[in-house]
Symmetry: C2
Subunit: 333 residues, 2 copies
């Protein structure tokens, strides 16, 4: 049985062709891109992504409030729209409910989801309901190109491009570790880390803004993706055939990330790069266009550059992949 999304895609590929009259971009990016009117320039393009959020796999009811569950299921899915620079269209919710939830539970879950839905202008457009042995949500998000008509993909960065990061990495990882803590844990400690895990904010506005920066030669941003599995795993997906030189130190991390992992005797930078569920955005742009991008989004941080030499090197040191192999098997699903 497949144990990762990559394995799953391989099984899927054996049975389903990755093309179709209306399929402009198939599987493997943050979203698929559908063209409803393939004959018409720019007309009827749609982004679609789907995200499962299953009890005891992606969340636990022991430390997620019902509203947290509703929020995060939608946030995780919406982050895939951010990763394409898409504007929100709407979402569909399929919900499997176990027996024995109290009456307020569903109301609170939907209230948490509705709050984010309203804030993102991402309305609920459909859904389905079923009984099930555990609480499970499947959220399908739809988006469309913003005014520039551009959607941004991964695998488009070129050697020399600067790598930009929007958002904190490692913070949700610290939050997860703390929330999963058994025994002597202070429930008031590490509030930002806990919030990053329970209530991530999809960076729809920033993704959309990145896709609107256009020069006479095309989009200023060459590639974009959301960082949901940690930079260590997501960077190779972003880079395609190329490598990267990453320059990152503890001062560039959220203070709770630096303090949390230092207190555990771990290297905060390595832990942050491992990350997971960061829902940060990773973008690339040429050195000439970098000032234009930073003028629009000054909160973006340059964390390195794309290299024609394969492999990802951290602070001129060892290859990232090798450096973190010992983490394999420690990930949550």
């Amino acid at each position: 049985m497949p144990t990762s999304e990559q394995d799953f895609l391989a099984v899927i590929d054996r049975h389903f062709p990755d093309r179709g009259e209306h399929v402009l971009l198939g599987r493997g990016d943050d979203c698929a891109i559908i063209g409803l009117d393939p004959g018409q320039p720019g007309g009827g393009r749609l982004c679609l992504s789907t995200d499962l959020f299953v009890e005891n796999v992606h969340f636990r009811r022991s430390y997620f409030s019902p509203a947290d569950i509703g929020h995060k299921a939608l946030a995780a899915a919406a982050s895939d729209l951010a990763g394409m620079g898409a504007a929100p269209v709407g979402f569909a919710l399929s919900l499997a409910l176990p027996e024995g939830l109290d009456d307020g539970f569903l109301d609170q879950l939907l209230a948490g989801m509705a709050e984010l839905s309203g804030r993102l202008s991402l309305p609920l457009i459909g859904g389905d309901l079923s009984r099930g042995p555990v609480l499970a949500l499947d959220v399908v998000v739809l988006g469309r190109p913003g005014p520039s008509g551009r959607l941004l993909k991964r695998g488009q960065a070129r050697p020399g491009d600067a790598l930009l990061l929007l958002g904190d990495i490692g913070l949700a990882r610290a939050g997860l570790l703390e929330l999963e803590c058994r025994g002597e844990c202070d429930p008031a400690a590490w509030p930002a880390a806990r919030a990053a895990h329970l209530r991530p904010e999809p960076r729809i506005a920033e993704g959309l803004a990145l896709a609107q920066i256009v020069t006479a030669d095309g989009p200023a941003v060459s590639g974009l993706m959301d960082v949901s599995d940690g930079l260590t795993r997501d960077l190779p997906r972003f880079l395609g055939p190329y490598g990267a030189d990453i320059s990152l130190n503890g001062d560039q991390l959220h203070p709770e990330v630096a303090a949390y992992f230092s207190a555990r005797g771990e290297d905060p930078v390595e832990a942050a790069l491992l990350g997971g569920e960061d829902y940060a955005l990773l973008a690339s742009t040429s050195p000439e266009r970098l000032p234009m991008v930073l003028a629009v989004l000054p909160q973006a941080r340059v964390i390195g550059a794309v290299s024609s030499e394969p492999g990802v090197r951290l602070n001129s040191g060892a290859l990232l992949r090798q450096g973190f192999d010992h983490f394999a098997g420690r990930e949550t699903a």
Copy 2:
């Protein structure tokens, strides 16, 4: 907690507005209709529906083969496109897999799904994978208007309209009862009924054909829906404020439906109207346009007429709703 899709919609309505810039038709029909380019006539309209298919709620692995599961999950979702008269665009699959499935299981499931996907020209465009305590599939289907530019809704029939049925009712119900049979059952008996439950065929081609019959005054077919919860439940949803006079006898039912329920001492017509998972199509058209519709789809059967008098009467007799209240609570989810 809500126990039906109607209850669920009521809870949803408390939290989510049923509108949005791109929402042309909200919740409550077979599909939602999205308008990507609301300013442009006919441009960028999309149908969307989502369907959960959960082990031990919608199917059992004891009598569904892996390929049956893959087929039916997609068929049930695709039937919602048929119910709008939409042309297939693609689908997304979210799949939760329990531990311990043997290696061939997922391959066979996907092969069953891929066979129908290819036949319907409904390609897989995205998906997600997770562990879960039981096998669960969520299928999201996307469609678009055919060449006429028309999508057909429920709640549009007018008094005097003929009611047309495409497909068998009650056959899948007989199949379910037989498949759930404990004890002395002949596994070769009632083959059509078993197949109707395990391998329903979504009527995409017929739904699409219905939506293409257009006169100078507009579509020849006033209303359309797929019959998935049984005519007894679905007719009131189709009729809106109106009623209907239904005329149906055993000769119009599939021979296995007539024989199966007669053998159990039940009225085959009542059992067929209760139905469930028929994936038949219910359409309405004015008496003047009926010949035109029957010329295109001669397999359609007239089963009655819309009436300005509320309630659904069977063979000039009692109200359908009252007649079948004793079945309440016997439904599978």
